[in-house]
Structure formats: C-alpha cells, structure tokens
Amino acid sequence: MKYKGKLFRASKEATGDLNAKVGKIPQQLKSLFVLFLVLISLFFLLRHFFTPDTFGKYGHYRAAAIDSIMSQPLRYAGAQLCMECHDDIYALKIESYHRDVSCEGCHGPAIAHTEDPSEFVPPAPRERGYCPLCHEYNPSRPTGFPQIDLTSHNPPKPCIDCHDPHDPKPPHTPEQCSACHAEIYRTKAVSHHAPLLCTRCHEAPEAHKDQPRMHLPSKPTSRTFCGECHAMEADSPKDIPRIMMSDHGIGYVCWQCHYPHYPEVR
C-alpha cells in the first residue's frame, strides 16, 4: 500500500509537471488559438482562389498581363517593310531631304496593306493642308527647318504640284534669300537695316542655293565690319548712328548686344 502510494505520487508528480506546462494555458487562449488558425487558413484559402494564376511569377504582378499586352495587334508596319516592295520610292527618298520621314508618317498605318496589298491601299495626302503640318511657318520650329507662309506661298495650289513629296527639292533653284530665310527677311524689312541687301554682310557662294548645308554663306567676324558704317570716322550717310570704336563695348563683338537683322530703337 505504502509502496503503491509512493509510486502513485511519483507518477502524479510527473503528470503534474506536464500539466504545469500544458494545462496552465487558459482555455480562452486555446480557443483564440483555434480561431486564429481557422482565420489564417481561411485567409490562405481565399487568397488562393482570388489571386490570379500567374501573379508573382516575376514580381508583384500578373505575369500573364505581359503576354496580353504583347498580343495587341500592330497597326504601323515600319518603313523597312514598305521598302521590300516599294524599293523604287525608297531609292528616291533615301537620297532626298525626306530621308528621315517614315512612309507611314504621311500614308498612315499600313499593316493591313502588307497583309493584303489589294484589300487596303494606304491613302496619300494630296491636299494643300497636309504639308503645312510640318512646313508652315511657326516661330517655335527650329531655325533652318524649311517653312513657308501659307498665305503668300502660291495659293491655292496643292504642294505636290511643284514638289515631289518623295524628293521634295524646290522646283527651281531659289533666286532670292527670302525664299528660304523668310523670317529673317520679314524681320529685317521693318528694321533700320531694311535697305541693306543680305549680301552686304553675308557672302553667299552660288552653290549655297543648290546645296545649302554644304556651302554656307559667310558671316562678319569682327567689330571693324560694323565700324565700316557705324564708326565715328566712317565714310557713310550722316544719319547713321555713330559710336566711338575705341571705348564702346570693349571686349564684345557688336552682335552680342545688337541683333543685326533688327537693331533695337523700337
């Protein structure tokens, strides 16, 4: 009996230890634990059903979206494709001023034409209104870009009457500077320098008219050039404003302060 009791006590102590470890967690915590487990598994379950298939393959997005974006149909074929059939026009254009102008820039998207040339023929803009999108005078356009004044430039003829859009050189060699440098011409016309010819200050080689960028006209290089008219001792009409070349704006050339095509005095 005594022995038995001792044994019983010993085992009771052992299980008591276990109870101390496990049994002391309060019941409400245990049920909370179960609740959390259920909620977490519910979260994973729902996430599994609501997350798209390929989400997370490459990053925090649906990888399949890349494919669906890439499957968007092309509308512009690209100039290279046009060239394969229209090599005659390509040969003409590549030597011309329009060498950088893409076929579809004017003719519009033409992938349908590459698939079935007879089914869809890309339109060609022939009206006078189209070319001015690029070539009408606009002060914001970069200097040197060929621009015209629509009201004075041969109205109402369509541009393609005189200019081949695939090789748009002027129909004849321009005679006057104003044909290309209209903006400067107009500015100068209302300035004090109106009576001066362009060639008074710029020596333009004849070849400049045919190949403007290859043969550039000269520009004055020194103060003494302006001094030919504006120096105190210059041999020029009396009403021309004079300056002392020796103390006026030393260290500068004249056109750093005075715009020669429109000298101030407003």
């Binding site: 179960v34 487990l37 259920v38 598994s41 519910l42 994973f44 379950l45 599994h48 798209p52 298939d53 390929t54 989400f55 393959k57 490459y58 990053g59 925090h60 997005y61 649906r62 990888a63 399949a64 979206a65 890349i66 494919d67 669906s68 974006i69 890439m70 499957s71 968007q72 149909p73 092309l74 509308r75 512009y76 690209g78 100039a79 329009h98 950088d100 102008v101 893409s102 579809e104 820039g105 519009g108 998207p109 001015p132 999108l133 690029c134 009408e136 005078y137 606009n138 002060p139 914001s140 356009r141 970069p142 870009f145």
Partner: protein, 255 residues
C-alpha cells in the same frame, strides 16, 4: 481519476482533429498552388533595357507622334486622352512663360503666339517616363501596374480596379483613365512593337528623328550615340524617379 484522464485525452484528440483538418486541407491547397499549371508564358528574361531619347532641338511640333500613338494604341480621340503629347513653351522677353498643348499638339500649333516678343520658344514631346523608381507602381493597391524586367512600366488592364491612385501619383501627368475600360492607361513604349523588334509608333513616324529609341546599356544602340553627342537631362530629376526618357538640350523652364 484514470477514467477522467482518458476522457480528457479523447476530447483533446477530437479537438486536435478538428484543428488539424483545415491545416491538412491548407497544406494540400498550398501544394496545389505550387503545382498549378500556369498558362504558357513566353520568356521575358531577355536582356533588354529600353529607353528613349528626345532631341528638343529637332522637334518641329507637327504632332505626327501624337496621332500615330492614338492610332496604334486605340487611344480615345477626345483631346484629353494622350499617351504622348507635345507641349509648346514660349519664353517671352519679360521671362513670362506660356505653355500650351492644344489637342496634345496633334493638329499642330498656331503660329501667332506672343504680342510681347519672344525670347525663345520650342516644343517638348512628352510621354510616360518609364521611371526606374516609379511612384505609380508604389501606390497601386492591387499590383496592376508594374515594371517589367526590361525597364518598361505597364498597366494590367484586366486587373486594374480603376482607383486612379496612380494617375494622382504620376508627377509627369502621363496617365489617364480610359473611358471605355475604366482602367488606368498610359504609354507602354509600344511594348507589343518593341518586343517584336520594331520601334514605338511615335519613333517610327517622327519626321525629324527627334525621338530615338533603343537599349540603354547596349553599346551598339542609337541611344548610346545619343548619349555620346548630347548633354542629357531628365524631367524633374529632384524627385528621384530616375526616368528612362532622356531629353537633349532641355530648357530649365520645362516642368
């Protein structure tokens, strides 16, 4: 006593069963997540890193890019939906700046601009900058907008919920809400074109080659030449968005 204990164990056992059932289910599900056959995906791990260069001095403001973009990407015609657009800056002699973009520049710009006298004036083509550090991707609550591995920021049209957070977050105003799909929309660098080796539509039609497209980190790329010959700036560099659209000869007035 012993009987009690036995009963307790049984209860415990049942409880444990109840708990472990969903856990086992969960495990099974987890396995199925990994085992799930994803649809055929093309390999997007090619070593691309796309960027665009824009030469301000070459832009003539003809708006061909704006129209080409609308046609290529079916952007709504209304004059307030643009994936790319052209702005005109007019800095007047008194330093007052006029910025305008009628119809996104798609129909050209009027030639009479300022009565005060112009100090300088130029066009600035704009589009999504495809930032390396994009604020729009950060704010998207569902992961519908993202940067691909080749450096293009895209919108997942099927997954976007149209909450407009990204439209608010973009410091360049490059996004709009597509009125038909009711999802955010923006320039994709014509992702469907560039992955097939073509240029984006705007680059394709630009008559003066003011837009240059290519690989940023490749030595034989038109962009590399662009970087070699130009002083290059990005828009709003102080925001640390690290745009991948680079501007040559950008004026300080451009915002």
């Amino acid at each position: 006593m012993k009987k009690d204990k036995k009963e307790l164990t049984r209860r415990e056992f049942l409880k444990k069963c109840a708990v472990s059932a969903p856990a086992v289910l969960l495990l099974a599900e987890a396995e199925s997540i990994f085992a799930k056959n994803s649809p055929e995906l093309s390999d997007h791990k090619e070593a691309h890193y796309f960027g665009m260069g824009i030469q301000i001095d070459k832009c003539i403001g003809c708006g061909r890019c704006v129209n080409a973009c609308k046609l290529e990407n079916s952007v709504p015609d209304e004059p307030f939906y643009f994936r790319t657009w052209v702005e005109r800056y007019v800095v007047q002699v008194d330093n007052e700046v006029i910025v305008e973009s009628p119809h996104g520049g798609g129909e050209g710009f009027p030639s009479n601009i300022s009565e005060k006298g112009i100090a300088r004036t130029f066009f600035v083509p704009k589009l999504c900058n495809h930032c390396a550090n994009p604020p729009c991707v950060q704010v998207c609550p569902v992961g519908a907008t993202f940067s691909t591995q080749d450096g293009v920021v895209l919108v997942d049209e099927d997954y976007c919920i149209g909450c407009r957070y990204c439209i608010q977050a973009c410091p360049y105003g490059a996004r709009y809400l597509n009125p038909f799909t009711k999802t955010a929309d923006k320039c994709t660098f014509c992702y469907h074109r560039i992955k097939k080796g073509s240029n984006p539509a705007c680059v394709e039609v630009c008559p003066t080659k003011a837009r240059i497209f290519g690989e940023i980190s490749l030595r034989s790329s038109p962009l590399t030449r662009f970087f070699r010959f130009n002083k290059v700036q990005v828009l709003k560099p102080y925001l640390n968005t690290e745009p991948r659209v680079y501007y040559a000869n950008l004026d300080g007035e451009v915002r």
